[in-house]
């Protein structure tokens, strides 16, 4: 019998039981980035928080300039500066509790340092002495991640695992505008939403992926609009407004901790320096654009608010500056010392237990090193 032959009432039913799974409305971001500094709401910003953010921003900026200087001296293999993006880096670090986890990308050394990680150990990757210079579990900072967006599913898995274990830990994962184009971004956000994992995704939209401007990266109204496609809230924030970033991230972290699931935050910001010291930004962008953003410098915004409220006198400013200089001096000094490296470490951490293949190769290298030492000794 074909279906035709089944007679029955003409029932104009919609597909059975179909309905929107969630209300899209509250998931959609506002049409303009959320701002505090320079608006009336700034008056309500807590003075202590402002001062703290200011000190961290000054220190952060100094950290960026010092690290870039170290590349010129050959003390760093490469440095992707976050100058101009410090409000995002600091905002991310300060939004988290100690038990929370940070998943930084290669550009986010500063967020790790602002969380309290030793600046020299944070630079291990970029200096080239080892891939990660710290114990991620000790600091709850995942390794600085280079393959774009690949750290995002890690953040989801970790947050999910924590929740399964009954721990109220939140993971904050950082990625660039370019990174949102990768499949891993999509898969991570989807897993997070389906699992309702306590994760906050922070996209620093700094306008470029190396030379590629945002317009060649996406046609979306904003990157935050991607959130609705996963069923999580999308939030748009002025990434140079440290107070706004801190507020939005703190709320998203709280939401996640309270079992509300993940949030996607797009922070609109700008990369003031080249992609890395090895890049030449004049090949792909005009000085005008950079100059326009200089007026919107994250440091400037906080300083002006502090100054307007009379919270930043010369003494305080000097103290902040000195503290930053001291950090820079320490960094310089320690980075100028050659690290002690043991080539035999090459074989130590590949597996829990060395395979016989690796034992053979380790023996070969050890013999070579001994021979080198001997001939060095003989030469002396």
């Amino acid at each position: 019998m074909t279906v035709m032959e089944q007679r029955g009432a003409y029932r104009p039913a919609p597909p059975p039981a179909w309905q929107l799974r969630t209300d899209p409305e509250p998931l959609l971001p506002d049409a303009a980035p959320y701002r505090v500094l320079g608006t009336e709401a700034a008056a309500e910003a807590d003075a202590q928080l402002l001062l703290r953010l200011h000190a961290e921003l000054v220190r952060g900026r100094r950290y960026n300039t010092q690290a870039t200087a170290l590349t010129k001296q050959g003390r760093l293999a490469v440095y992707p500066s976050s100058t101009g993006q410090e409000a995002c880096e600091i905002g991310a670090a300060l939004a988290l509790e100690e038990r929370d986890w940070l998943f930084p990308s290669y550009r986010d050394t500063l967020a790790a340092v602002a969380r309290g990680l030793d600046p020299v150990r944070a630079l291990s990757l970029l200096r080239g002495d080892w891939h990660t210079g710290y114990d991620p579990r000790e600091h709850r900072i995942a390794p600085l991640c280079t393959p774009l967006a690949t750290q995002l599913p890690h953040a989801v898995g970790l947050a999910h695992a924590a929740r399964l274990q009954g721990d109220d830990v939140v993971a904050l994962a950082m990625v660039g505008d370019g990174g949102t184009s990768e499949g891993d971004f999509h898969e991570a956000l989807n897993f997070a939403a389906v699992w309702r994992a306590p994760v906050v995704f922070l996209v620093q939209n700094n306008g470029f992926a190396i030379s590629v401007p945002l317009a060649k990266q996406t046609a979306a109204p904003s990157l935050a609009h991607k959130a609705v496609g996963y069923g999580m809230p999308g939030r748009l924030v002025d990434g140079n407004d440290a107070v706004a970033v801190h507020q939005v991230l703190s709320e998203a972290v709280r939401h996640a901790r309270d079992g509300g699931g993940p949030t996607l935050v797009e922070a609109v910001t700008y990369r003031m320096e080249a992609h890395t010291n090895a890049d030449d930004a004049t090949r792909y962008r005009e000085d005008d654009e950079v100059a326009a953003w200089r007026d919107h410098d994250p440091l400037l915004l906080v300083e002006r608010e502090l100054t307007a409220r009379g919270l930043l006198d010369e003494d305080r400013a000097a103290a902040v500056r000195e503290n930053a200089e001291a950090m820079a001096a320490d960094l310089r000094e320690r980075m100028n010392q050659d690290p002690e490296l043991d080539p035999m470490d090459l074989f130590t951490h590949v597996y829990a237990e060395q395979t016989s293949q690796l034992r053979e190769q380790a023996a070969q290298l050890r013999a070579e090193l001994e021979a080198e030492n001997e001939s060095d000794g003989a030469a002396r």
Binding site: R137, L158, A352
Partner: protein
Amino acid sequence: MTTVAVKPATMGQALGRALRDALADDPTVHVMGEDVGTLGGVFRVTDGLAEEFGDDRCTDTPLAEAGILGTAVGMAMYGLRPVVEMQFDAFAYPAFEQLISHVARMRNRTKGAMPMPITIRVPYGGGIGGVEHHSDSSEAYYMATPGLHVVTPATVADAYGLLRASIASDDPVVFLEPKRLYWSKAEWNPDTPETVEPLGKAVVRRTGRSASLITYGPSVPVCLEAAEAARAEGWDLEVVDLRSLVPFDDETVAASVRRTGRAVVVHEATSFGGPGGEIAARITERCFHHLEAPVLRVAGFDIPYPPPMLERHHLPGVDRILDAVARLQWEAEN
């Protein structure tokens, strides 16, 4: 603890039992993948696990292999021991970046601070009449990736023992399950199953004096059959089941070849750039002066896996193995 007393058991059942026992013994073990929950996996290996241990311990994930492995990395970072299923060999490819750049390197990257005790189960190989993308033998990719263990069982008992050992390993293991042996049966007591400890030991499945067949996974039964058939030709073949491609048991393999003086490496994976090259090269490096003939390879042709109606021409079978044995320059001895 319900005991499924199955005698004889299939390899699929032994694998399921290994997962069950691992889940029961260690609360950090989590099984995850596409259709592993309610359905029990397309090969039913995970049948009953979600029911017994709940959806959080045996989880149907969204359909995204990089996401599955990537979230497993995060779970391992937090101290869990994920057992991930890739539904078929070729569907593991989307997860390669996570596998190569993270799973295999995280321990080394962090100087041992962050091990990756992840087991990645991959049904592999052909001979089941599967349509395209359902019969790949991808072990060469895994072997070429330092930081991974690569393990594959050929018997029901090993399926259990090696999977338990893999899950217990503090390092990532790509656990290759020979699809066409899922239904292979053996007397096996699920109440006193033996684990294999440690990973990385080959086993001589059949002793012989004339030549060594070095093989693994789905090709082990084929080689045993070939060895039986070879008796008619007057050859007494030894069959070595590698069980673990990484680490590689140089000792057992070299000892066998030194004894016999001749070797054929047999596998389904394509020949060029496949596992056999490495194996033959290692044997030659170690046993050169014991060899009466070059180490030969019987492997899949250097072609994409064929459609079902042609796969028998591609797979290394008894005849092709015997042909290779015949080419081992017996005149040199006679």
